[in-house]
Assembly symmetry: D2
Homo-oligomer: 472 residues x 4
Amino acid sequence: MNSQPAIGTEEGLWDRTLRRVRRVWPLGTRGALRDAVDPRLSQDDAARIRRQIDACLEVRGGEVSGRARAAELGETYLVLNADGRRRFLEILARDYDVDSTVIDRAVQARHDAADTESRRRAEAQLRELLQAPRVKLLAQFNALEAGVKFLVDLRAELIPLARQDAELKALDRDVHRLLASWFDVGFLELKRITWDTPASLLEKLTEYEAVHAIRSWHDLKNRLGDDRRCYAYFHPHMPDEPLIFVEVALVNGMAGNIHELLDESAPVGDPERADTAIFYSISNCQAGLAGVSFGNFLIKRVVSDLTRELPNLKTFATLSPIPGLRAWLDEQLASASLGLEETEAQTLLELSGESSMPDSFAKLLNRRGLTRDEELGKVLQPLLMRLAARYLLESGRDGRARDRVAHFHLSNGARVERLNWAGDLSRKGIQQSAGIMVNYLYKVSDIEKNHEAYSEEGRITASPQVRKTARG
Amino acid sequence: MNSQPAIGTEEGLWDRTLRRVRRVWPLGTRGALRDAVDPRLSQDDAARIRRQIDACLEVRGGEVSGRARAAELGETYLVLNADGRRRFLEILARDYDVDSTVIDRAVQARHDAADTESRRRAEAQLRELLQAPRVKLLAQFNALEAGVKFLVDLRAELIPLARQDAELKALDRDVHRLLASWFDVGFLELKRITWDTPASLLEKLTEYEAVHAIRSWHDLKNRLGDDRRCYAYFHPHMPDEPLIFVEVALVNGMAGNIHELLDESAPVGDPERADTAIFYSISNCQAGLAGVSFGNFLIKRVVSDLTRELPNLKTFATLSPIPGLRAWLDEQLASASLGLEETEAQTLLELSGESSMPDSFAKLLNRRGLTRDEELGKVLQPLLMRLAARYLLESGRDGRARDRVAHFHLSNGARVERLNWAGDLSRKGIQQSAGIMVNYLYKVSDIEKNHEAYSEEGRITASPQVRKTARG
Amino acid sequence: MNSQPAIGTEEGLWDRTLRRVRRVWPLGTRGALRDAVDPRLSQDDAARIRRQIDACLEVRGGEVSGRARAAELGETYLVLNADGRRRFLEILARDYDVDSTVIDRAVQARHDAADTESRRRAEAQLRELLQAPRVKLLAQFNALEAGVKFLVDLRAELIPLARQDAELKALDRDVHRLLASWFDVGFLELKRITWDTPASLLEKLTEYEAVHAIRSWHDLKNRLGDDRRCYAYFHPHMPDEPLIFVEVALVNGMAGNIHELLDESAPVGDPERADTAIFYSISNCQAGLAGVSFGNFLIKRVVSDLTRELPNLKTFATLSPIPGLRAWLDEQLASASLGLEETEAQTLLELSGESSMPDSFAKLLNRRGLTRDEELGKVLQPLLMRLAARYLLESGRDGRARDRVAHFHLSNGARVERLNWAGDLSRKGIQQSAGIMVNYLYKVSDIEKNHEAYSEEGRITASPQVRKTARG
Amino acid sequence: MNSQPAIGTEEGLWDRTLRRVRRVWPLGTRGALRDAVDPRLSQDDAARIRRQIDACLEVRGGEVSGRARAAELGETYLVLNADGRRRFLEILARDYDVDSTVIDRAVQARHDAADTESRRRAEAQLRELLQAPRVKLLAQFNALEAGVKFLVDLRAELIPLARQDAELKALDRDVHRLLASWFDVGFLELKRITWDTPASLLEKLTEYEAVHAIRSWHDLKNRLGDDRRCYAYFHPHMPDEPLIFVEVALVNGMAGNIHELLDESAPVGDPERADTAIFYSISNCQAGLAGVSFGNFLIKRVVSDLTRELPNLKTFATLSPIPGLRAWLDEQLASASLGLEETEAQTLLELSGESSMPDSFAKLLNRRGLTRDEELGKVLQPLLMRLAARYLLESGRDGRARDRVAHFHLSNGARVERLNWAGDLSRKGIQQSAGIMVNYLYKVSDIEKNHEAYSEEGRITASPQVRKTARG
């Protein structure tokens, strides 16, 4: 997941963000509060914020006025600096949580309910009371121009603050629940991204790409060529902001090397003749939507759309990194549990000229070692491929795959299909995945079965070839 | 509120509705269930429906498969006839409500919670458990083509069934809550309707108009002329379906007669020179959104938009019926509490040739009496205007205005501005409102004050003129 | 061809048309001329108009100013009444034609040209001089808002005036040539018209329909149902104005009766199962485009589009009136050249009780005779069908079909396929076509051959069945 | 004017261009010709091309078939290589020109015409005959997908070939005339270009920019910032291809330095507070539209639009190069007519260490000289500014300004407002304009007057300041 720019930095905020606030509501003294507060939110300001929140929640002056006040609160948030925003969030977290005392009474009422009707009434009341007042307030920020994006960005700022504060954490859970209902996949729209897409949106892809960084506009154009596809999910109230996007290459045969896919000088293939769609990059775009997942739906919608558009496509697979591999190798080395054969260990020590295995590994596993040194390659390749296969196929104690990318695709019903030596020799590729890439295969007829096997029994499905590699 | 066509009648359903179901999800055996059920939903079918619901709720085969199953359930509903649909709804109502036993336990846990953290955990669990499983299911119907409209129409069918069935009533409350969150006014779009709007949408206005029936396309075109405005709220997922719309006439001075406004042969005025906007018809369009209110927001948004577009406009008022007037008059007559002066009563008896007051009133209050008979008019006009003013200005015992239209506008902060004798001489106008119409004035600077006076203290604001009329 | 409303009538013109004139050009004293002229165009005004035209043609003050002046002239035309407009057109016709004297000189120069280069130069000059100054002026009216429509409407007004005036006729030829280049079919867009089309555009179809009048919005909606298609050509600069449109019914088997096609209560067929497309109405919409033909292209584009959309369609044919039949019959009767057999003539006289054949025919050929009277039908049907077939199959002396509709379709390469007794029993159908309708068949593989046979040799292609009917 | 990529190179043409040819016409054996020809157009092919052209011009098989054949000819052109295309164009040039012999006869007929009517008929015939058959053919290429662009690109290829061939030159004049009528400014649309414009279109701006090259996407984004405006003209049948575009900076006071305007790190100004709009780059985009001018209209439309959008703008001016300055200086030096004072000449010789003035100038006028060397600057600035002012203010013998950019703006009614020393120190700026830039002022009220003075009398309008500089 990529971190994205926050709602707005202090500088230039008055000049830019506020200009586009929607004048939706005809009533009230819009702007008075916003214009008066100190960016750091003084004690006095805090008191005024509370009064404004109270007026909103009591719907003073009618519903429309209530909305106008809520919108003004939202705008006020935008003019605060980092300290001011934290104070604002703390007010919500501490003063507008559910009311424990009245819940006590409602719980008692439910407890005492004698018949169905009074039970139902007590439950309805409990349900209402368990909705924190701040949730009602936050939901009304949708009256702001770009109000949905506003709340997403507010949460992006809240998440790091919530890590060390239980009350802010509880607030975050409320915001998460609200956003999860707004961003239900049934409300989202899938759109294809092409070179005819507005430049401002393409620029965002460049910012949000989290797997293989887009190096230039030329690189980007290459990823949107005739033999490529790019799709993103959008929310109707955030039409300029992708939520998640996937990049697909249409090729012949399973691709195993990311550099070939990203080679800007490679000839453009004919999509009508391709037999395989390779999903080589999936990036979440909105930090504020952490924990609201669409990736699963995205892949399957794209499989479905591509099948219809290009009936020649027979195989759908990813080309993925194994981001946890090196960390796991280091850990195993430390505990001497790699299970190397004696001769292997001996060779590694000799080649590296080091005396301990961890040092030896660290020295050998660099770009030079993996690509240029033929002799070293002969030793390292079978060894690392075997270890990578083991890493991917053995679940951890919690019954989940160790690798987070593996877990994502296995949960979605894919299987581990093929390991590719020297598939990603970028610095990041070597540092995280020892240069190895993996294909996860999405075979439509097996997806439910694979999913059930994995999520019910923790059983990881893999091709015979990978199983064999794991056995060495 | 207008009743609108239900999701589909039995006839032609297979031919029309199903054709447009979206193939969103690539997996599963879509259509098998739908194609197999009997339209009346047999016992066996009911069992299969339950199994399908259970599979959805357990998310068997993964989230995407779960959605596909939910969508199929939705489609299945569409092929049922009235009996089948009632059975389907009863299954949801009886078998997928909240689970009383587990709530008991959760209530106990909350009761026993010793510290903040365990209290929070217990509350989160309670909140989760108080969400009925059927709500989770229904929410997923948004994966259907036109899924939002689907749920709106389902509720339109549910409402009449729920009147005599407490369990269906509880289901209706769940659906209402779900729709209220989907249709929050912050998510809606205001659009102007003109003669350039697609005919298919204009045709719907004709169906939905609930105040002054649209008699012909010519009548409709006249209501969309240069000196008129028509605005409607739309949901982004129901782009072809208005939720509520308002018709406005741009005139000079406060209009008091609906026939003049609807006269198709009247010359078209110049909107730039108009000083008054008359809201002469507001209609809700979706029976399934009963209890989800937008009228309040609609009026004020339109006031705001018109103010910007046409700065010459100084006065914003309605021209409204008094739909409860005649019923109240009859009631008062029966209890002899009209407070007529002796001479008035005597004249009425003479004019009608009847011996009792109720008979006399019933005879005189018809179209002929109100329009043609000059002598009668002289007697009736002051009398009925006085009674109408009293009816509007005196709240009932619950502190609310007696008339539902009056209650709506007073809640929104309008005031009773002017009564108009012979303002609506249509059959309906005479039968309900004794031919009288009323202007409610929306004065922006007084709206909050009026609202507070009415909703806090039950105080009805009115012009001095109307007060004077009430005093006789 | 339908006559359509002219550019604007005197009444309300100042209020409406002028409001929307585009302020394209930043310079000059726009509006001064227009505001000053008398609607009848006085002598003084005429002089000012000439000065303005001269300034335009000399491009005084630069090209942009020239355009602004031309636009102003166009606007000025709009405020004139019928007399004023005639005078305006006469100024163009008499004072801004080609200059005979300078052409004389240029003709001489071409005559004297000794070498290729000087010949070319002389020809270029001649070409330039043969372009009348008024054409340069009229072409510039495209700078008006809706400038293309402006010229089309100007010509609609010019055509009737030009009938008795040779100079206006010459002007009309100039305008026609200009419009023919603007409206070349390569610049037009074909659009499908449906019930989702803006009401304002659908209303125009109702006005423009020239074959089978649209009786109501319900009739119109029926013609846009699922088993119908309606297509129109548009010019990119007249997006709200159809140029020509065709109505198509998707049916099984060749339709022979227009009442069945227009029956609003008939069930809606499934377009995917239809095997025949019946073109039952083609209407030109713009009187000002008389002589600029698109009908030919329209039919073939629609055949092409429908073939792609609905591969089940195998047959493309019209259901057409025979508008010249009755007039021809009367003429033949007058010259006693109908070639009736003695017994036929005798029966007709008896049935009618008249003593002469023309009287007899006139009496029998009415709605009653053609529909209700069985005995009469038995006599009339074979007789009239034989005569209709002869009328359609025998060309006139000019080698063209006698009937104008027949000529149109035969020129386009269709063949006379089938005659339909009692196919159109409307008043117009009986008065023009003796109630008979004809199908012209468009068989793609024969179109070129049929066209060549007809236009080169005047040979009319027909089905064996129709040939047989003609022989009697 | 920028040269742009031709219609298509040989490589990849079959794969790409042809894929998108529109299947407009349902008839005929489309593609047969195109698929058969040799890319170099053999003798046999040439004969077949001629037969196809003849069939088109005779409209064999009807109008629709004729169009289909013309379209096929167009497609055939696309598959030819450079040699083949030249041959194709030569066929049009030599075999389908006007027919001299029949023109002879028509000229004679016009000569002999005795009355108005026969004169008119003769003129109509001459007009028809003076239209070369190839023009009728080329006009029909609009039936191709992107047919308008096709002809524009064909002319872009024709222009260089026509330079040394009188017959191709005559063909070019025909194509030019056709395009000039299609691209009349009244048919064009002005659109604003922003960062939200599709990337594919923005990429074209980068290609077409002819004044100050766009160095990167970041540079481009900067030119589309809040304090910038970019507008382009488009033809409705070439929606993805700008015809001409202008870049405008919104600043305070007259800008004199292009580097400041293009500085990507400069802060973004507030457009609402700017008082001056600087047109700093105007580029024609279509080589095939050489000689069809829109620049004049573009500037004034943008002035008009900006005035409406931003009423604060008071001054509209360009910041322009003086591209002919250096060449003129060199010429003057060669003829010793620079009119330097003795001391100036002496100083220059000393500073440069050269013995002749031309050598001296050449040495001093380089980037270093103009920027860094203070002493040299003191000498050069007054000298060069005086010479530049003289160059701009004195017309040539033909009564036109010597500088082509000056001529363009003076024709449009601007005046020479200010010279800016060191306004453009790029390599090109120094090589062409000696680093000097000039502002041409567009004062709306003076434009017509300035234009007339310049085009009627060759009088160049300039500010007093520039006049003074010229006097030295």
